[in-house]
């Protein structure tokens, strides 16, 4: 089952990503990204992260992507033009991306043995449930990051207000 | 009250304080022809500095042990790295300090009327330059020295950039700075490397370590390090073929700046640091430097022969003259070293007089092109007199100072036959011919014959009182130093004699030809005993500062 999930949703994620890449209208790209996120949510679940799977759907797909779509609509962005502003992106960037991928894969493949494999539901069998453990950690050892994140959100709100406010 | 321990600090501080005070003194907006108050202030400061420096020759101890320093001040400054505020003077630097302080008032006088705008900036920079120069001469801590060394670049660059003569000035300033800065960056690497090796920046300690071969490093590395030092200094001198900056900088720099542009700083540094810390390595590269010195003499003179622009001529003449010093000091003979150091004084004084005179001409006629001149002798009898005296001193006429230096240098060069080929001495001596040629030709083209184009248009005046005041001390010194050189040589010799190689009587045919001159034994006996005892005290002193960084690592 694990492998089936992996193959189906992995392929779906890649397909979504590629679609994002090849679609020329931002809305289509956004929807492709939603597909990727949904697939990932399933994969998260298959890896024993139910909480994250849920959060992925709610926060990412539900909130962030909606924000994106909203802005796309707001700015009335149409299909993008095939402008040729950059040769470097193709000459250096794409090979760079490919090389990065190759190097990463090389590392993962060469360490494949040591990395081991997934055990279906392996993590779920823990005594404490996933969510309990997360919340426990979040409020003990990772309390500070959790609190500080509020500053981050404050900054984000402040920034959004500052930037998007009309008058200047 | 005994001023000895603080006199050097006072000497450095006086122009510094002067510079700060001048900077705070507002420009006189009411004066029509440029304010004089800063000039007066600078004159007072420089004269006072000169007065202070005269303390040194007055209280110099001629019988001190070789390789020791006087008027020392040695205070801890920064603990990591171990930098000390260490000042001191020996026979090498004493007269150079007085010289630098002596030239300063002359520079102020030379700028009296020529600097019409931004007088404040000019004199502040001038005094800062003075601080850096004096600092270089007295610093005994490599690091402190390096600080002054770099510091000397800045005012000079700004002086050239701001007060340069033509539109080319910015380029010339940057060229000057780059030429000086890049090698001194390598010098810094050398200093750091040395520090990482020995744990000290203190020159006397380093000197003692080097003399006793206690700097533990592969010979190649040491040689490279010595080259890093040497190249930085050589560019500043400049030694042929590193003189690329000289022509432009001399052409642009105002008189007061150009007087201190080339020569003494670099040469002093070679003598003090290259020879002090790398005695063996310096001797190793000496044949090359002797060759470069000899070539530089002839090369500078030959090119000066064809230049029609007076400043360019002066630049190559400077190259030729400093090359004499290079030739002299790298012979490592007493004659060469003493003559070389003496010639640094000569070269500076003669160069100063020369540039002042050129400045006077420019002030009157607004051109440095010789072809525009001619027949000025009837109009400016005093100026031509001073010009001829200067030129004769430069050409090495006996009883003027240039001769003593050149004579000793070339004799030394001939003496050190073992180190190099006789050819270099011969080439060096041709400088005597070419030097006279271009200088006399210059005199002829400016002053003799019928009136030239510029003097026909512009009427000039003979020297005024201030100009007399600038030139007479120099002219008098030419003569006094020419006939009474021992006054200076006595101190210089305390440096030169212990630094030179013990005379080997290396000459080709003489071993069998003659009994050794009676003085040979004298000179040989000076160095060894005192040095070794000194070394012991130094190395014990070395333990503590050197050990600290070792442990830290």
């Amino acid at each position: 089952m694990q492998i089936a999930l992996f193959i189906i949703f992995g392929l779906l994620a890649v397909a979504g990503a590629l679609n994002l890449l090849f679609q020329r209208h931002p809305i289509n790209s956004a929807l492709s990204l939603v597909v990727v996120m949904m697939s990932l949510a399933v994969l998260y679940w298959s890896l024993g992260a139910e909480f994250l799977a849920a959060a992925q759907v709610i926060v990412y797909a539900g909130a962030i992507m909606v924000l994106f779509v909203f802005v796309v609509m707001l700015l009335n962005a149409g299909e993008e033009d095939r402008t040729h502003g950059s040769k470097i992106a193709y000459i250096a960037g794409i090979p760079g991306a490919a090389a990065t991928f190759c190097l990463l894969s090389f590392v993962f493949l060469s360490e494949r043995k040591q990395l081991g494999s997934t055990e279906i539901g392996g993590y779920l069998t823990n005594a404490v449930s996933n969510i309990t453990e997360i919340s426990h950690t979040l409020f003990t050892s990772l309390l500070l990051p959790f609190e500080v994140t509020s500053i981050l959100i404050l900054v984000a709100i402040l920034g959004a207000v500052v930037l998007a406010r009309k008058e200047l | 009250m005994n001023f000895d321990p603080i006199i050097l600090t006072l000497i450095i501080l006086t122009p510094l304080v002067g510079a700060v005070l001048l900077a705070l003194l507002p420009e006189d907006a009411t004066a029509s022809n440029g304010s004089k108050r800063h000039a007066i202030g600078a004159l007072v400061v420089t004269l006072f500095t000169l007065l202070l420096t005269l303390h040194l020759p007055a209280h110099f101890n001629y019988t001190a042990a070789p390789h020791t320093f006087q008027f020392e001040q040695n205070l801890p400054w920064i603990t990591n790295p171990a930098i000390r505020y260490h000042l001191g003077v020996d026979g090498l630097s004493m007269w150079l300090i007085v010289l630098a302080a002596f030239l300063a008032p002359l520079g102020v006088l030379a700028s009296w009327n020529t600097i019409k705008t931004r007088t404040k900036l000019f004199f502040v920079l001038f005094l800062l330059q003075q601080v850096a120069m004096l600092g270089i001469f007295v610093a005994l801590d490599l690091f402190l020295y390096y600080g002054f060394w770099e510091l000397s670049l800045v005012p000079m660059t700004l002086l050239i950039a701001t007060f340069g003569r033509t539109e080319n000035r910015r380029r010339a300033a940057i060229k000057f700075f780059l030429y000086a800065f890049i090698p001194s960056a390598i010098l810094l690497v050398g200093i750091i490397w040395l520090y990482s090796l020995t744990g000290t920046f203190d020159l006397p300690i380093l000197q003692a370590l080097a003399a006793s071969h206690h700097i533990a490093a592969p010979p190649t590395a040491l040689l490279l390090c010595s080259l890093a030092f040497l190249i930085a200094f050589a560019v500043k001198v400049p030694i042929f073929p590193l003189h690329g900056w000289l022509q432009d900088a001399v052409a642009e720099a105002p008189t007061a700046a150009v007087m201190v542009l080339a020569g003494k700083l670099g040469l002093y540094s070679i003598l003090r640091f290259s020879f002090g810390i790398f005695p063996d390595q310096s001797r190793h590269v000496a044949p090359l430097l002797i060759a470069l010195g000899a070539i530089g003499i002839a090369y500078g003179a030959l090119i000066a022969l064809i230049k029609t622009d007076l400043k360019k001529l002066a630049a190559f003449s400077t190259l030729s003259h400093v090359s004499f010093v290079v030739l002299g000091i790298f012979t490592f003979t007493i004659l060469g070293l003493d003559g070389g150091v003496f010639q640094i004084l000569n070269e500076s004084l003669i160069g100063a007089a020369f540039f002042i005179l050129l400045g006077l001409l420019y002030e009157r006629y607004g051109t440095y092109d010789m072809r525009d001149y001619g027949g000025l002798a009837t109009r400016h009898p005093w100026m031509v007199t001073m010009f001829v005296v200067t030129v004769l001193a430069a050409a090495g006429l006996p009883i003027l100072n240039g001769f003593v230096g050149e004579f000793l240098i070339l004799s030394g060069s001939m003496q050190s036959l073992a180190a190099h080929h006789i050819l270099w001495t011969v080439i060096g001596t041709t400088g005597v011919i070419f030097g006279a040629s271009y200088l006399l030709w210059m005199i002829q083209r400016i002053f003799y014959g019928s009136l030239g184009a510029r003097p026909d248009e512009v009427s000039g005046w003979d020297l005024c009182a201030r100009e007399h005041l600038e030139l007479w001390p120099l002219a008098a010194l030419f003569l006094i130093m020419g006939v009474a050189s021992p006054l200076w040589m006595r101190a210089i010799d305390t440096y030169g004699a212990p630094t030179a190689n013990a005379p080997t009587q290396s000459s080709v045919a003489t071993q069998n030809l003659l009994p050794p001159p009676q003085t040979a034994s004298q000179t040989a006996s000076i160095a060894p005993p005192s040095l070794s005892s000194q070394l012991e005290t130094r190395s014990s002193a070395l333990k503590s500062p050197a050990a600290a960084p070792q442990e830290a690592r």
Binding site: L21, A97, N130 | -
Partner: protein
């Protein structure tokens, strides 16, 4: 059948690289921003995979934080995009090149 962790990682690497490529290829600034989100998602997958491997929940928490940060970034980024659009009336990244040598 168990899937090797490496496969998840490689899947993440693929997504990450596609994200890079999308950043390079897309012209619309919003889409480019989306490709960054794609890259972040790839990283998240990596985190989750490792979290699974190490039986450590901290990886998952990290992902949680990344999500929050992504949301904050999205807010700010989109605000920047809006303010840019107001001035330039374009979202084509190739036309955003006033600042250059």
């Amino acid at each position: 059948m168990a899937v090797p962790i490496a496969f998840y990682l490689i899947l993440a690497a693929i997504l990450f690289s596609i994200g890079i490529a999308a950043f390079l290829i897309k012209r619309n600034i919003i889409t480019i921003f989306m490709s960054i989100e794609l890259m972040l998602n790839a990283v998240n997958l990596t985190f989750v995979a490792f979290s699974h491997m190490w039986h450590q929940v901290s990886g998952q928490i990290f992902v949680f934080f990344v999500m929050v940060v992504a949301a904050a970034e999205a807010a700010v980024g989109l605000a920047i995009i809006i303010s840019l659009f107001r001035v330039r009336q374009t979202l084509d990244v190739d036309q955003i090149n006033l600042l250059k040598d």
